[in-house]
C-alpha cells in the first residue's frame, strides 16, 4: 500500500548467473540463435546500417536542395536518391524498427514468457529481412532505382529503365519477414502470458504491438500481391496497370495504398506503445484512461484500413468516393487525439523525471500532434487539392514518421538499453542528443510546411528561386539533425564497455521486464512470474517487490 515509499524498496541485485549475452559465444551462436533477445539484437544492427544509408541519401538530397539549380547531382541521381531514401527508410528501417528490435526483445519479457511462440520462425523472419536487404543493397550497387517508393504505374512498369524488378523483389521478400513477425507476436500474446497477466493488466506496449501485428498480418499480403502484379506487367507485359496494354493505372494506386496507408500505422502504433510505457515509467503513474488508450490502438488499426484513397484525392476518383474517404479519415484522427490528451493528462500530479527517454517522448507527443493536425489539412478535400504532392506532404509525413515514430524508437532504445545491455548510457550526452534531434528536426521540416503551401512540389531536383531561403533553413536543420543522430551511435557503443552497470531496475519502473536481471538470463526469468497487480500499479508493485525483498 502507500505506506511503502519509494526509498524503502531495495531492488533485486542482478543475478550472478549467466545472461543471454554470455551463455555462449561465436558467430554461429548468433546466426543460428533462437533466442528472441539475440534476434532483436541482430535486427538492431541491421536496421542501424540501413538507417545510416537512408540518412546518407537524405543528406545528399538536402545538400542538392541548398541551391535552386540542380547542380550537385544529376536529375537521375537525385531521383534515385529520394527513391532509395524512401524505400530504405520505410521498408528496411522504420517498419521493422520498434517491432523487430524492441518488440522482439521486450514483448516476451513483458508477458513473462521464455520466448516468442515460434522461435525458429522468428529467426526465419530475420533471414528474410536480410535477403530483402541484400537484394536492396545489390540494386543500389548495380545502379539503383528511380520510381519513388510508391512505384506508380505506368512509370514503374513501362517507362523507368532502372532496376524496378530487383527492388520490388526485395520489398516483396521483406514483407514476409514482417508478416511472420506479426503472426508470431499475435500468437505469443494470446498464448504465452504469465499466470495472472490478464488482458487488462497488459502493458500498453503489448496492446500497441498487438494492433500493429494485426495490421502487418492483414495488410502486407496485399503489398506482396501488388508487387507481384507489377513485376509480371514489367516482365512479360501482361496489361494490368498500363493503359497502353489495356490496364488501369489507378488500380495500382488503390492496391498500393490499401497496404501503404495501414503501413503508416505499422510505423506509428509501436511508437505510441513506447510512449505509453515511457510516460508511465517517468511519471511513476498509471496511464490516464488506460482502456481508452488500449482500445484506441485497435480502433486505429481497424479504421486505418478504410481510408487508403485519401492519397488519391486529385488522382481521378469520383467526388462521392472522395467524400467518403475524407469522412473516414477524420474518424482515424479521433483515437490519435485520445492518446495525445491521455499522455499529457498523465503528467498531472505525476513524478516527472526529465531523463532521456522521457525527453524523447515529450518531444514525440508534441511533434506527433503537429503531424496529426496537419493531417487534418490533408484530409480536407478542397484544401488537399492544393497541398497534395507538395512539400506540405513531405513535412507532414516526416512529422509523423521521424518526429513521431523515429523519436519513439529512440525513446524505447534508451529506455530499454540498460535492460538489453546491462549498461547505462551517459545521461547528459543523451540529453544533448535528444535536444539536437528536436531542434534539428523542427528546423528541417517546419519550413517545408510553408514551402508546400507556397506550392513547391515534392520530388523536385531543381526549384524556383523564391523558395531558396526556406530550403537553406531546411538543409541547415538537417545538418543539426545528423549530428543529433550520430551522437547516440557513438555514446551507445561507448556505453557497452564503459557505461555504468545498470542493475535490475534503473528507472524504478514497474513491468515484468524490470523484475529480471539486466541483461536478462537466457530464459528471461529464473522462475515464471505470477502477476498480481494491475498495469502501472506503482503502489502494489512496490509492495510486491518489497515483500520479495523481505523474504
Amino acid at each position: 500500500m502507500t505506506s511503502v515509499t519509494y526509498h524503502d524498496v531495495q531492488f533485486l541485485e542482478p543475478a550472478k548467473t549467466r545472461n543471454y549475452l554470455n551463455v555462449d559465444y561465436g558467430a554461429l551462436s548468433w546466426l543460428l540463435t533462437k533466442d528472441h533477445k539475440r534476434i532483436g539484437i541482430l535486427y538492431m544492427v541491421s536496421i542501424s546500417v540501413m538507417f545510416i544509408l537512408g540518412g546518407f541519401f537524405a543528406l545528399m538530397m538536402r545538400l542538392e536542395l541548398l541551391t535552386p539549380e540542380g547542380d550537385l547531382l544529376t536529375s537521375d541521381t537525385y531521383n534515385k536518391f529520394f527513391t532509395l531514401h524512401g524505400i530504405i527508410m520505410i521498408f528496411f528501417f522504420l517498419i521493422p524498427s520498434i517491432p523487430a528490435v524492441l518488440g522482439n526483445f521486450i514483448l516476451p519479457i513483458q508477458l513473462g514468457a521464455k520466448d516468442l511462440a515460434f522461435p525458429r520462425i522468428n529467426l526465419l523472419s530475420w533471414y528474410l529481412y536480410m535477403i530483402g536487404a541484400f537484394t536492396g543493397l545489390l540494386v543500389v550497387i548495380i545502379g539503383g532505382v528511380d520510381t519513388g517508393w510508391t512505384f506508380y504505374t505506368p512509370f514503374s512498369t513501362q517507362y523507368s529503365n532502372t532496376h524496378v524488378i530487383g527492388t520490388t523483389f526485395g520489398a516483396f521478400i521483406v514483407g514476409f519477414s514482417s508478416i511472420l513477425t506479426g503472426l508470431n507476436f499475435i500468437v505469443t500474446i494470446h498464448r504465452m502470458r504469465a499466470p495472472g497477466l490478464t488482458w487488462y493488466r497488459l502493458p500498453l506496449f503489448v496492446w500497441a504491438m498487438y494492433a500493429t501485428s494485426l495490421v502487418q498480418l492483414l495488410a502486407t499480403p496485399i503489398l506482396a500481391i501488388t508487387l507481384v502484379m507489377l513485376m509480371i506487367e514489367r516482365f512479360i507485359h501482361v496489361g494490368i496497370f498500363d493503359p497502353a496494354l489495356g490496364g488501369d493505372p489507378l488500380l495500382f494506386q488503390h492496391m498500393f495504398w490499401f497496404y501503404s496507408h495501414p503501413a503508416v500505422y505499422i510505423m506509428i502504433l509501436p511508437a505510441m506503445g513506447v510512449a505509453s510505457e515511457v510516460v508511465a515509467a517517468f511519471t511513476r503513474k498509471k496511464i490516464f484512461g488506460y482502456t481508452f488508450v488500449a482500445y484506441s490502438s485497435l480502433a486505429i488499426a481497424f479504421l486505418g484500413f478504410l481510408v487508403w484513397a485519401h492519397h488519391m484525392f486529385v488522382a481521378g476518383i469520383s467526388v462521392y468516393s472522395a467524400m467518403i474517404f475524407s469522412f473516414l479519415s477524420y474518424f482515424v484522427a479521433v483515437p490519435s487525439a485520445i492518446k495525445v490528451f491521455n499522455w499529457t493528462a498523465t503528467l498531472y500530479k505525476g513524478s516527472v523525471s526529465w531523463q532521456t527517454p522521457m525527453l524523447y517522448i515529450l518531444g514525440f507527443i508534441g511533434l506527433f500532434t503537429m503531424g496529426g493536425v496537419t493531417g487534418l489539412f490533408l484530409a480536407a478535400l478542397g484544401l488537399d487539392v492544393h497541398v497534395t504532392d507538395t512539400y506540405f506532404v513531405v513535412a507532414h509525413f516526416h512529422y509523423i514518421m521521424v518526429g513521431g515514430a523515429v523519436m519513439g524508437y529512440f525513446a524505447g532504445l534508451h529506455y530499454w538499453w540498460p535492460k538489453i545491455t546491462g549498461r547505462m548510457y551517459p545521461e547528459w550526452w543523451a540529453r544533448l542528443g535528444a535536444l539536437l534531434v528536436f531542434v534539428g528536426f523542427n528546423l528541417t521540416f517546419f519550413p517545408q510546411f510553408i514551402l508546400g503551401y507556397l506550392g513547391m512540389p515534392r520530388r523536385y531536383h531543381a526549384y524556383a528561386p523564391e523558395f531558396q531561403v526556406l530550403n537553406v533553413m531546411s538543409t541547415a536543420g538537417a545538418s543539426i539533425l545528423a549530428v543529433g543522430y550520430m551522437l547516440p551511435l557513438v555514446y551507445l557503443l561507448w556505453s557497452l564497455r564503459f557505461g555504468r552497470k545498470a542493475g535490475t531496475n534503473p528507472w524504478g519502473a514497474v513491468g515484468l521486464e524490470w523484475t529480471t536481471s539486466s541483461p536478462p538470463p537466457k530464459d528471461n526469468f529464473h522462475e515464471t512470474p505470477v502477476v498480481t497487480w494491475e498495469a502501472y500499479d506503482y503502489p502494489a508493485m512496490l509492495k510486491a517487490m518489497g515483500e520479495t525483498q523481505n523474504v
Binding site: 523507368s160 516527472v352 515529450l362 500532434t369 492544393h386
Partner: protein, 321 residues
C-alpha cells in the same frame, strides 16, 4: 536582395484561392492553438510535477474523468465541421461553371502542350483571359503527370487512360507558375511553365496571331484523314451512328444500359469501340488505339463536341453489319 523575394504566402490569383486560403487559415489558427496548448501543457506539467525528493512516487490522484469525454467529443465536432467545409470546396472545384473557355492540354515527358479552341498551340506556356472560367480537358501521352497552378490553388493528375477536367478563373493579370506535381521521371522538376493571365482584349490580340485553324476544324480534317466520315455520315445512311449532337446526350447501348456521352465516352469510343456498342449497330468500328496520338485525339474530340444540333438517335431500320 534575396530576402525581398522571399514570400511566405502564395499569391491569390483565382476565385477559389481565397476560399482555399480561408479554410487553410482557419485550420492553421485552430490547429496551431491546439499544438501550442499541448506543448505548453507538457512543459508546465512536466515542470510543476518534476521529480523531487518529496514526490518520488506520483500522487494517486488523477485528472478528472470528464476530460476523456471532452476530448473525444469536442475534436470530433471540429473534425466534422472541417470535413463539411473541405467537401464543399471540393464540390466547387468539381463543378465547372457555364460559359467556360475550353483549353486542351496534353502532358508528356517532360512538357505541357496547350491548345486553344481557335487552334493556337503552345508549349509550357498558357495564355488565358482574366475573369473568365477556363476549363482544361487533359490527358497524358505516357506516364501520369499532374497539372498544378499554385496561385490558383488547383491541381489534377493527368492520366494516360482517360480525360481529366479541371477549371479555374483567374482574377489577376500576371505570370504564374505551372508545375508538374506527379513524379514522372528524369526531368519531372523541369516539367514546369508559366500561365499568362491577360486582359480579354489582349487575349483576343494574342489569339489573332497565327493559327492553323480552329481545333474543331483541325479535328474535322482528321475526321476525314482517318476516314471516320466513311461510316459517320451526317445523315443516317452511314454504317455508324450520326455524331451530330452526340456530346452531352444520353446514349442507349446494345445491352440497353445508358451512358452520358462525355469526353471519356468519346475517347473510349475511338480507342476501344468494342467496349460499349451503341444500340442498333454492329461492333464494326475498328480501334484507333496506337494510331491516333493524344494531340489528334483531342482535336477529334473538339470536333465531335462542336457537332451541335439535335441528336438523331433513331438507329437505321436494318442493323448494318
Amino acid at each position: 536582395m534575396m530576402l525581398t523575394d522571399f514570400p511566405l504566402f502564395p499569391e491569390q490569383a483565382s476565385t477559389v484561392a481565397k476560399q482555399t486560403d480561408a479554410l487553410f487559415i482557419m485550420l492553421t489558427i485552430v490547429c496551431g492553438a491546439v499544438s501550442v496548448l499541448i506543448f505548453t501543457m507538457i512543459f508546465v506539467l512536466a515542470i510543476m510535477y518534476r521529480r523531487r525528493p518529496d514526490n518520488e512516487l506520483a500522487q494517486e490522484e488523477e485528472a478528472p474523468k470528464i476530460l476523456e469525454a471532452t476530448w473525444i467529443v469536442v475534436p470530433f465536432i471540429f473534425f466534422m465541421a472541417t470535413f463539411v467545409w473541405g467537401s464543399w470546396l471540393y464540390f466547387r472545384l468539381a463543378r465547372v461553371p457555364d460559359n467556360a473557355l475550353d483549353i486542351y492540354a496534353t502532358g508528356k515527358q517532360w512538357m505541357w502542350k496547350f491548345q486553344h479552341p481557335t487552334g493556337q498551340r503552345e508549349i509550357d506556356e498558357l495564355h488565358v483571359p482574366v475573369n473568365r472560367p477556363i476549363r482544361i480537358t487533359m490527358a497524358s501521352e505516357d506516364v501520369i503527370h499532374s497539372l498544378f497552378f499554385p496561385s490558383f490553388r488547383v491541381k489534377a493528375d493527368v492520366l494516360p487512360s482517360r480525360y481529366r477536367i479541371m477549371w479555374f478563373q483567374a482574377t489577376k493579370v500576371g505570370r504564374f507558375h505551372i508545375f508538374c506535381t506527379e513524379y514522372c521521371g528524369t526531368l519531372h522538376s523541369g516539367m514546369i511553365g508559366w500561365v499568362d493571365v491577360m486582359q480579354p482584349t489582349d487575349y483576343q490580340k494574342w489569339l489573332a496571331g497565327g493559327s492553323e485553324g480552329s481545333l474543331a476544324s483541325q479535328g474535322q480534317a482528321l475526321f476525314q484523314k482517318y476516314a471516320c466520315n466513311t461510316c459517320h455520315t451526317e445523315d443516317a445512311t452511314g454504317r455508324g451512328p450520326v455524331l451530330l449532337g452526340l456530346y452531352g446526350s444520353t446514349v442507349t447501348l446494345a445491352n440497353n444500359a445508358t451512358v452520358v456521352a462525355d469526353e471519356n465516352y468519346i475517347r473510349e469510343s475511338i480507342l476501344s469501340p468494342q467496349a460499349k456498342i451503341v444500340k442498333g449497330f454492329g461492333p464494326i468500328m475498328p480501334t484507333f488505339q496506337g494510331q491516333v496520338n493524344e494531340d489528334d485525339l483531342l482535336k477529334l474530340l473538339a470536333y465531335v463536341r462542336s457537332l451541335a444540333g439535335p441528336r438523331t438517335t433513331t438507329p437505321p431500320k436494318e442493323p448494318k453489319s
